[in-house]
Structures are given as structure tokens and as C-alpha cells.
């Protein structure tokens, strides 16, 4: 087990140094930075979807709220980028609680359906509210003042590191035990004193905040955001795809999922852009039918990492 912690720190160090010593082109460099952010969002989705078992189809709402609040703060007050992201993220977390507190009482498909409603209503309202979001035209961020696109690579890496650490913490602390209990049987959990409301709210808040911060990152990265894209159903879906294809409920999984998704999107898309949706769909179907723990499950099968008791 120590090996994994060591591996994580080593991976972090390698990724931190890599662009300084390796001849990585600007484009690839930027895409890797973006991949870190996607992995972080997938992990954050997984806290709710994988650990608690509540599949959200509406996480784009928090991505959008985080992104637009951060963007507005940067535009209006010239707030330091990092601060703007965090405030945006916290706003997104609070927004998640507003709709999450009542809807988290629902379970299974009921919760999922409610989140679709939340996500779509958020999208429509955000697009209409052009005073804040710029409407269908979107919002441009100032091109100077913040970190350069080149620097965002490291910010993305920190986001990912934070998401991984929170994932481990959520999984291995007592809270992780409560989450597993809630996922298994929410009523039995209540009967031994686990307050489902409290821990689900906590996880949703964390998840929403993280996704919101990532929304802020994305705004800085693109220097342009528009509500139809930030709040889109497809964005919510991409989080699910990354987590599920990689391995729902695991920690390595969503990261792998993000890498796979970005590879599909960036490298295959240029030459075979017509096939990517179908590719996602096929992957999803295969994984649900044959390996519910996704790529991570597949890896574990190929090479059992568990030390023998």
C-alpha cells in the first residue's frame, strides 16, 4: 500500500517536471493541462456517483455556476485567478446544496431524473440571463493578468492532486465508511445513526465545489465561455462517461477515464470525428455489460494488486 502512496507522489513529481525537461509541444502541453482538470471533475462526480451511488446527470450546472462566477469576478473586480476559482467553486457548492438538499432524499433513477431537470433548468436560465452570462454569445475573459495558458498546466495538476487526495480521504476515513453504508442501504444506515442527509449533503457540497473550481479553470483556460456549452447536458454526460468508463467508485478509474476521453476527443477526433459518439456509446455498453468497474476493474483483473493476506 505504501507503494501506491509513493507512486502517487512520484507521478505528481514527474508530471510537475515533465514539461520543463521534455520537448512537449505547446498544443499537447495545453491538452494535458486540460486533461488534469477533466480528471478532477470526474473524480468529483465520482464522490457522489461512485461513493454514495447517486448518479447525477446535472453536474454541468455546478461547472457552469463556478465558471461564470469566477469569470465575472475576474472581469469585474480583477480578482486573482485562484481566488476567483475558489469563490466560484464555493458558490457552485452552495448552489448544489440548494437543489441537492431536497432531491438527495430521492434514490436511484428518481434522483437521476431530478438532476436532469435541475441541469436543464439551470442551462435555460443561465442562457436567458444574458446580463450575467452573456446569453448565447457568452463571455470573454481578459487575456492578460491571470496565469498564462502555459502555466495553467500546473494549476490543473494541483486541481487533480487535490481531487485525488480528497478522494482518498473520503474513501478511507470514517466518512468513507458512512458513505458505503448509505450506498448499501440508506435506511439501515439511518438505524445505526448515520445521517444520510448530512453526509450526502457534505459529499454533494464537496463535489459541487470541486466541479465549480474546475469550471473556473476552464473559463481561464478557454478565455471564453458560453452558457450553452458550460451548462450543456453533454457536459454532465461527459463526467459520467469518464467515471464509468474508467471505473465507477474507484480512484484510478475516473483519471483513466479522463485520459481516454481526451485521447478520443483530441487525437481520434481530428481524423475520425464522425465516430466519437458511437465510440463512447459502445464503450459504455461494453463496460456495463462486462466490467462494471471499468478500465480500473480491467487493470485489477490483469494484475491483481492486492497483497495476499
Amino acid at each position: 500500500m505504501k507503494r501506491q502512496a509513493g507512486g502517487f507522489v512520484l507521478a505528481l513529481a514527474v508530471l510537475w517536471v515533465a514539461p520543463l525537461v521534455l520537448p512537449i509541444g505547446d498544443y499537447t502541453h495545453n491538452i494535458i493541462g486540460l486533461t488534469f482538470m477533466f480528471a478532477a471533475t470526474a473524480l468529483a462526480w465520482n464522490w457522489l456517483g461512485g461513493y454514495v451511488g447517486q448518479i447525477s446527470f446535472g453536474h454541468a450546472a455546478m461547472f457552469g455556476v463556478g465558471g461564470f462566477v469566477a469569470a465575472r469576478l475576474i472581469i469585474a473586480f480583477g480578482l486573482p485567478t485562484g481566488v476567483a476559482w475558489v469563490v466560484g467553486g464555493l458558490t457552485a457548492g452552495a448552489y448544489a446544496l440548494v437543489w441537492g438538499h431536497p432531491t438527495l432524499r430521492l434514490r436511484g433513477p428518481y434522483f437521476s431524473i431530478a438532476t436532469i431537470g435541475v441541469g436543464e433548468a439551470s442551462r435555460l436560465i443561465a442562457t436567458y440571463w444574458s446580463g450575467f452570462t452573456g446569453g448565447s454569445s457568452g463571455l470573454s475573459l481578459p487575456l492578460s493578468g491571470g496565469p498564462t495558458k502555459y502555466q495553467l498546466y500546473w494549476y490543473g495538476l494541483y486541481l487533480l492532486a487535490a481531487a485525488v487526495v480528497i478522494s482518498y480521504w473520503l474513501r478511507t476515513s470514517r466518512i468513507g465508511l458512512a458513505l458505503l453504508a448509505i450506498k448499501e442501504d440508506v435506511e439501515a444506515a439511518g438505524d445505526v445513526g448515520v445521517s444520510a442527509t448530512r453526509y450526502q449533503n457534505l459529499v454533494l457540497f464537496l463535489s459541487g465545489t470541486m466541479v465549480g473550481v474546475c469550471g473556473g479553470f476552464y473559463a481561464s483556460y478557454q478565455a471564453f465561455i458560453d452558457p450553452q456549452d458550460m451548462f450543456s447536458f453533454d457536459r454532465s454526460i461527459s463526467l459520467i462517461l469518464m467515471a464509468v468508463i474508467g471505473g465507477i467508485g474507484t480512484i484510478l478509474g475516473p483519471v483513466l477515464g479522463a485520459v481516454v476521453l481526451v485521447i478520443i476527443q483530441e487525437f481520434l477526433l481530428a481524423s475520425y470525428s464522425d465516430y466519437y459518439l458511437g465510440l463512447y456509446g459502445t464503450l459504455l455498453v461494453l463496460i456495463i455489460l462486462f466490467e462494471p468497474l471499468g478500465l480500473a476493474g480491467l487493470l485489477a483483473r490483469l494484475k491483481p494488486l492486492r497483497s495476499t493476506p
Binding site: 436543464e120 463512447y280 456509446g281 459502445t282 464503450l283 455498453v285
Partner: protein, 291 residues
């Protein structure tokens, strides 16, 4: 006053289409306890099928209905036999089926994209822009036709479910699959048939939609979401509830122009969805099905 009349009639006409759209989703949920996320994809595929028949062979969209029903019944039964059948039952299966059928939707979208490109298509029948005037208000002929077909379909479905052996078996399985096995009903066959029928109904909705709206491969998402709203409003899994749910949604949307900007009409449904799920999980009319 006349405006209110016009709006009310448009709402009723819209409700007809909405009900047709939600039938399939509601039926599959009622019997298999599975939310068919591929529903929107089926609607889109049926719109393309109708368009192809119209463009290539000059088949009127409404004549294409039987073809669509057969094609999509087969497709639905195929999806059940090839995929859905292997999922575990119970809550774990519910979540997995959501993701699985979402995958199916993505594949359908991609196929449509490869075949017909991402361009917007529409069916231009000779009567597409015609309207009739009733009491000084005019209504589109297409919408009236769509409404009539939806009502007929609802009646036929009702007869099928109440008068035939198969229909009774479907209702029995919806209520309690375990005791059906005891009573000698082939539950698996009922499931196959239901999935096929639900998909065929989505196909019908697609044919109707193709005469009302322009479509491209990502068409169907809004229709899927509205179908959710309707079956939740009407109580998940109750067919009469669906008709009522469709009315509520249609009236709420049409009359919301007095309260919110027209732009936000479609948000009305989603807000309604969340409120109803939280306050009355059994739907406005159904009994509470959730604990």
C-alpha cells in the same frame, strides 16, 4: 378572452403530442422499472425514417406510421434481447440500465450522423403551413392531425392493455412479476414485448415530431426530458396518469407566457419536475410509489 381560448386549444393539441411522446417511456418504466434513456434517440431515428420515406418514396408521414411501429418494435425487442436482458434486477440494475441505454442512445445518434450528417432536416408536406380557423382562432392542420393520431393511439393502447390477454399479462407483470410466474405467465416474453411496444410508441412519437419540428441527430434530448416530466407528473408507470401529466405540462408551458419570458417556457417543465419529485414522488395523480 379569445386569446385564452386560442392558448387553451393549442395546449390541448400540444398535450396530445406530449402524451404520445411519453407513452413509451412510461410503459417500459411501469413494467420493467427501467428508465429508457434511449427514448430520445428512438424518437430521432423515427423522424429520420419518416423523412427518408417521404423524400425517397414520397410516402406521406402519417402513412409511414405502421412502418415505423414495426421497425421500432423489432429494434426495441432486439435491444432488450441483446442488452437489457443481461442486467441485474433491482436497484443496482436500475442505475446500470440508465447508463447502458444512454450508451445505446449515443450509438443511435452516431449512426444517424454518419448516415445523414449533422444537418438540420425537415419534412415539407403540402399542408405543412396550412391552418384551419375555429371561432376566429386558427390552428395548424399538422398539429390537429398529430393530436388526433395521439388520441387514437392512446385509445388503442388502452384497449390493448385492458381487453387482450397479452395486455392483461403486461399489467399483471407490472404489478407483481413474481406471482405472475406462479400464475403461468411467461414473464420474460412479456418483458420483451413491452420493451418492443414501448420502443414502437417512441417511434410513433418520432413520426409525429418529424411533422412538427426540424431535426438533426441530437434531436430528442428535449423530448426525452419532457417525457420524464410527464411520467413523473402523472405518477411513474400509470398510463392514464401520463395523459393527465401531458395536459399539465402542456398547459403549464403554454400559459406560462403570461408569467415568464417565452424563452423560459421549457424550463417550466423541469422546475415542475423537481418540485413534484420532491413533494409528491408518486405524481400528481398516482398513488405514492416511493417510500
Amino acid at each position: 378572452m379569445r386569446e385564452v381560448f386560442t392558448l387553451a386549444v393549442s395546449a390541448v393539441l400540444l398535450a396530445g403530442f406530449y402524451a404520445a411522446m411519453a407513452y413509451g417511456l412510461g410503459l417500459i418504466y411501469g413494467v420493467l422499472r427501467i428508465v429508457n434513456l434511449a427514448h430520445g434517440g428512438i424518437i430521432m431515428a423515427a423522424a429520420y425514417l419518416t423523412w427518408q420515406l417521404f423524400e425517397r418514396f414520397g410516402v406521406d408521414p402519417y402513412i409511414a406510421i405502421p412502418v415505423a411501429l414495426v421497425v421500432f418494435f423489432a429494434l426495441g425487442a432486439g435491444i432488450y434481447l441483446g442488452l437489457v436482458r443481461f442486467l441485474p434486477r433491482g436497484p443496482a440494475g436500475a442505475v446500470q440500465s440508465l447508463l447502458l441505454l444512454f450508451g445505446v442512445w449515443l450509438i443511435i445518434r452516431n449512426v444517424a450522423y454518419l448516415l445523414f450528417t449533422g444537418n438540420e432536416q425537415a419534412i415539407h408536406t403540402s399542408y405543412a403551413t396550412r391552418s384551419v380557423t375555429v371561432f376566429g382562432s386558427s390552428f395548424s392542420v399538422t398539429r390537429i392531425l398529430v393530436f388526433a393520431i395521439a388520441v387514437v393511439a392512446l385509445l388503442l393502447l388502452h384497449l390493448l392493455l385492458t381487453r387482450t390477454y397479452l395486455g392483461k399479462a403486461i399489467r399483471a407483470v407490472a404489478q407483481n412479476p413474481d406471482s405472475c410466474t406462479l400464475a403461468g405467465i411467461d414473464v420474460e416474453r412479456v418483458r420483451i414485448f413491452t420493451f418492443g411496444l414501448g420502443t414502437a410508441l417512441a417511434g410513433l412519437a418520432g413520426v409525429l415530431a418529424s411533422t412538427l419540428f426540424a431535426f438533426n441527430p441530437s434531436f430528442g434530448a428535449a423530448e426525452l426530458l419532457k417525457s420524464f416530466v410527464i411520467i413523473v407528473l402523472g405518477g411513474l408507470g400509470s398510463i392514464v396518469g401520463i395523459a393527465l401529466g401531458a395536459c399539465v405540462l402542456a398547459f403549464a408551458e403554454v400559459f406560462s407566457i403570461y408569467v415568464v419570458p417565452p424563452y423560459l417556457t421549457s424550463a417550466v417543465g423541469f422546475v415542475l419536475l423537481v418540485v413534484v419529485l420532491v413533494l409528491r414522488p408518486g405524481g400528481l395523480f398516482g398513488q405514492r410509489v416511493l417510500r
